[in-house]
């Protein structure tokens, strides 16, 4: 009972109009570029996010993103460093690569400490000075003060600071291993001085032009100075390595897969036109999904886009089935007998994806909506448009379908009992052996040698990207500083007891008002007898005493803002979060932890410490992001399981006793991959699981079409082509060096091969349905 042709024509035209609207909407939405989101945490539900922790994470990552560090080792260091600096400063031409480059001693040295610190100096004592004053009023400080007064390099001002308190305090704050030598900034690696160059990027580290120009400068420098060695640190190098890797893989894996795909389709259909028609549903699917998803969610997460592309694998199924059938049946082709299978295929995939739209994870919801819309769009094009487009059929296609059917067609042979035994075996294996991996290494596509370089350089510079920290909040600044101070004391005790790590604490530089008051009292004591002795022994006029003492009368407190605004305090800006709405917050950064078990023990201790103190949260960024990945993986698995159960019920209602035949390819494919992973000891991660989603979708289509078509050569050809094309498009990603793509590809490679093999085995055998013969000679 086909609907009247006019009605179909009307529907096709409506669909065209809708797509036109979508194209206009998309153009309007993209007028300012694609609003993309790369944050992993954006995939989490709103109430589970911790804005303060995210602010802290952003702040810690910022310096790493905006700057890069080069360390140069060469026989004639000064000349080589000057060459490199010149080249870097000239890089980019009109649009300079760098906003600033620090490489000469004078770029960092000679920074006056600033007015605020100079005024507050009598409230700031180092531990050593404090102990000296507490011991004997500070008598022992007189001799070094005298020495410094008469030294030819003296910087001591006998009125403002006869004991050099500020110099001592600043020296104790300065933990940087950077030295100046021959006018260069140097860092010493095992006694060998190496020149340090710190570049401040003018553009984003992801800017391709900036990456290119930086890479070109370094390559040219390496060619000119083969004797020099350069090591690098900074996000821009990792971003450049990632971009280069992606480019390489697009040209090798990507083009290879595309060539293979087109080759296979051309071999089967012998017509470029037929292939273009095959790709039309894909394009329309994306055209529907992109603007509507953007409209619904406001912005597009990059994971959605990446996974949305894998939609291609399923969306092309409908077109393949339709075109294969048309090519084989020629004029006798009617859409209506195919509609149930096509609709069921769509419905099953929609259920699988939309199940995830129900999860509380906005990221997953977005992916699900995107995939579902894309599939629906592709399906509508297949059903409404493709039958109206003329297909230049080649008799070769039908012959090929027959030959392929004879050689590889389903032979049946799988009994429900055998399937059940296999199922139990694999499930047992999977529950017994399968591991999971949610480590952050999956998200990091940088090559190992670059990571080693990065680690070595950061170790040398005593910097790190701020992986572990204590997030401390309090109602106001004085109370926050006291909390920080108490935590600092505890951590200091741990270190005294042998714990191996370093601490960056704001309270070490900005003591709490209480402590600043106590230290001012100590300085008043020091300015009594010891100062009188110093003035007398140095032969300074007695009025020096009164004038020096007068300075202690109205000493301002040093606050966090004052410290961070001073040149020596600038590097601690990353520790200060400031106003949180209901108080203030700061970080205590923990660095240089011992690797392995030592760090884990310390993690547990720090967690316990944070739990006992009010307003303190311990954050291990790597572990936290790992947990997020794990949560994502768990959610996908859970909702998918639920969706599958629902689907099995729905399919059982239609297929009754044959349901197991429909379910064997998708379930067998997925379980098979898990089984292989369990046997090989490959842990399951969120990306291999995303690959399984694809296996499931294509497997479901294979199962449904296999059962519906009951052994037609055209269907078998379509199923084979569908698995083969997806295998080419996604399975080849298993050879990618990017971990995320590698695991996605590996799942597809194993899973799709299994789907095809299982479809062949589980579909009803040729002897049960010889109906195809009626159509063989038609074209």
């Amino acid at each position: 009972m086909p609907p009247p042709d006019t009605r179909r024509r009307l529907l096709a035209a409506l669909w065209g109009g809708l797509l036109l609207g979508c194209a206009l909407l998309l153009a309007w939405l993209l007028r300012d570029g694609l609003p993309a989101d790369t944050r992993l945490t954006a995939m989490l539900p709103e109430d589970r996010r911790t804005p303060l922790v995210e602010r802290a994470d952003d702040q810690l990552g910022q310096a790493f993103a905006e700057r890069f560090v080069l360390l140069l080792d060469a026989p004639s260091l000064s000349e080589a460093a000057a060459d490199l600096a010149r080249a870097l400063q000239a890089a980019g031409g009109e649009r300079p690569l760098l906003a600033r480059l620090d490489w000469r001693a004078s770029d960092l040295a000679d920074r006056a400490p600033g007015e605020r610190l100079a005024e507050a100096r009598y409230r700031l004592l180092t531990g050593a000075v404090r102990r000296e004053i507490d011991a004997d009023g500070g008598q022992a400080l007189v001799a070094p003060a005298l020495r410094s007064l008469f030294s030819p390099t003296a910087t001591t001002d006998p009125v403002a600071d006869p004991f050099g308190l500020l110099d001592r305090w600043l020296a104790a704050r300065d933990t940087s291993p950077v030295q100046t030598r021959d006018g260069l900034l140097t860092v010493s690696d095992g006694g060998r001085p190496q020149a340090l160059l710190i570049g401040h990027l003018a553009a984003s580290p992801y800017d391709l032009a900036a990456q290119r120009s930086l890479t070109a400068v370094l390559e040219a420098f390496r060619a000119d100075h083969p004797e020099a060695t350069l090591s690098r640190s900074g996000l821009v190098f990792h971003a450049a390595a990632g971009a280069r890797q992606a480019r390489n893989e697009i040209t090798t894996i990507g083009l290879g897969a595309l060539a293979g795909l087109l080759g296979v389709l051309l071999a089967v259909f012998r017509s470029p036109r037929a292939i273009a028609q095959m790709l039309l549903p894909l394009a329309t699917g994306l055209l529907l999904a992109l603007p509507l998803t953007l409209l619904l969610f406001g912005r597009l997460h990059l994971l959605t886009l990446a996974f949305g592309a894998s939609l291609i694998g399923i969306a092309i199924d409908y077109a393949l089935h339709l075109q294969c059938r048309r090519a084989v049946q020629g004029r006798e082709f009617r859409l209506s007998p195919m509609l149930p299978a096509l609709s069921l295929g769509l419905a099953s995939s929609l259920v699988a994806y939309l199940a995830q739209a129900l999860t509380p994870m906005p990221g997953l919801r977005q992916m699900a909506v995107f995939a579902a819309l894309g599939l629906a769009g592709a399906w509508l094009t297949v059903v409404l448009w493709l039958p109206r487009l003329r297909l230049a059929t080649s008799p070769a296609t039908a012959r090929l379908a027959q030959g392929w059917w004879r050689r590889t067609g389903p032979r049946g042979g799988l009994s429900p009992r055998l399937a059940l035994v296999g199922l139990l075996l694999v499930v047992g294996l999977v529950t017994w052996r399968l591991d999971t991996d949610d480590s952050l290494a999956l998200l990091n596509p940088s090559p190992a040698d670059l990571l080693d370089e990065e680690r070595a350089l950061q170790g040398l510079l005593g910097r790190d990207t701020g992986r572990r920290y204590l997030l401390v909040t309090a109602a106001d600044e004085p109370r926050l500083l006291e909390r920080l101070e108490r935590l600092g004391t505890t951590l200091e005790r741990w270190r005294d007891q042998g714990a191996d790590f370093s601490v960056h604490n704001l309270a070490d530089s900005v003591p709490s008002p209480t402590r600043q008051a106590a230290d001012l009292k100590r300085v008043r004591r020091l300015y009594g007898e010891p100062l009188a002795e110093l003035v007398a022994r140095a032969g300074l006029p007695p009025r020096t005493l009164d004038r020096a003492r007068a300075r202690l009368e109205a000493v301002p407190l040093l606050d966090v803002e004052g410290w961070l605004a001073s040149p020596p305090g600038r590097h601690q800006r990353r520790l200060w979060l400031g106003d949180t709405g209901d108080g203030v917050a700061a970080l205590i950064l923990l660095a240089d932890l011992p690797p392995g078990a030592g760090a884990e023990a310390l993690d547990a201790r720090l967690q316990a410490l944070a739990d006992t103190r009010p307003g303190v949260t311990y954050v291990d960024r790597a572990a936290r992001l790992g947990r997020l990945l794990g949560e994502l993986r768990g959610q996908i698995a859970g909702w998918l399981g639920g969706a599958l159960a629902l689907l099995a019920l729905g399919l059982a209602w239609r297929y009754r006793g044959r349901t197991w035949r429909v379910l064997t390819p998708p379930l067998g494919g997925v379980l098979g991959v898990l089984g292989v992973y369990a046997l090989a000891g490959v842990p399951l991660n969120v990306f291999s699981q995303l690959g399984l989603l694809l296996v499931l979708g294509i497997g479901l289509d294979a199962g449904i079409f296999g059962a519906e078509a009951e052994g037609r050569a055209a269907t078998w050809l379509a199923i084979s082509l569908s698995t083969l094309t997806s295998l080419l498009a996604f399975g080849l990603l298993a050879f990618s060096a990017t971990p995320a793509l590698h695991y996605l590809g590996l799942s597809c490679l194993i899973g799709l091969a299994l789907v095809w093999w299982l479809a062949r085995w589980a579909a009803p055998g040729v002897e049960t349905s010889p109906r195809e013969s009626a159509h063989v000679e038609t074209p």
């Binding site: 291993p177 030598r181 140095a538």
Partner: protein, 183 residues
């Protein structure tokens, strides 16, 4: 050809006469080790008073200066061009000041030119070098440094931005043979 040669010959004495920083450095470097006495006056503008000290010194080129105060206090100060592991990061400012002092005593112009503009006047027997800071940050501390000398450096004058004046006179200088025992 002959004309060219004449021209060159005419130019020769002129170049020989021009006394450059390179010549001066070579001349100073001819003495690897030196000892002598010093008299230092530090004028404190703020207090309008002087800090005077005397003593003896000994320096080994590119290695260190030992500055021994005799009056008004007895102290032994050492400034070395030590590599970073020997100079802790906790006295960076002193280390930088010491490096500057060593560079000044040795006439290590290339390093000084990074931070100062140098002007040389006089000849090999009575030369004078004036140093003015290039960077604003350094100008906040130092106005000008003047060095005077002949065979050796004789006088060092430093005018600080806050009005303080440092004057160091070096006298009774004599080279130390490599074999001489270190103090």
């Amino acid at each position: 050809m002959t004309r060219l040669l004449t021209l060159l010959l005419c130019l020769l004495p002129a170049t020989a006469l021009a006394f450059g920083l390179g010549d001066l450095q070579r001349r100073l470097e001819a003495t690897p080790s030196l000892e002598g006495r010093f008299a230092q006056t530090r004028h404190l503008a703020d207090l309008d008073s002087q800090l005077e000290s005397t003593g003896h010194f000994r320096y080994e080129r590119d290695v260190r200066v030992v500055w021994t105060l005799e009056t008004p206090v007895e102290e032994r100060l050492e400034f070395s061009a030590a590599s970073p592991p020997e100079v802790g990061a906790d006295d960076r400012r002193q280390a930088e000041a010491a490096a500057l002092f060593l560079d000044l005593l040795q006439g290590h112009w290339p390093a000084l030119e990074e931070r100062f503009t140098l002007t040389l006047s006089g000849d090999a027997d009575a030369w004078r070098v004036t140093l003015r800071p290039r960077q604003a940050a350094l100008r906040q501390r130092i106005d000008e440094i003047r060095l005077r000398g002949g065979r050796y450096l004789k006088r060092l004058a430093l005018d600080a931005a806050n009005g303080d004046r440092l004057r160091v006179r070096l006298f009774d200088q004599r080279p130390v043979e490599a074999g001489d025992a270190a103090p």
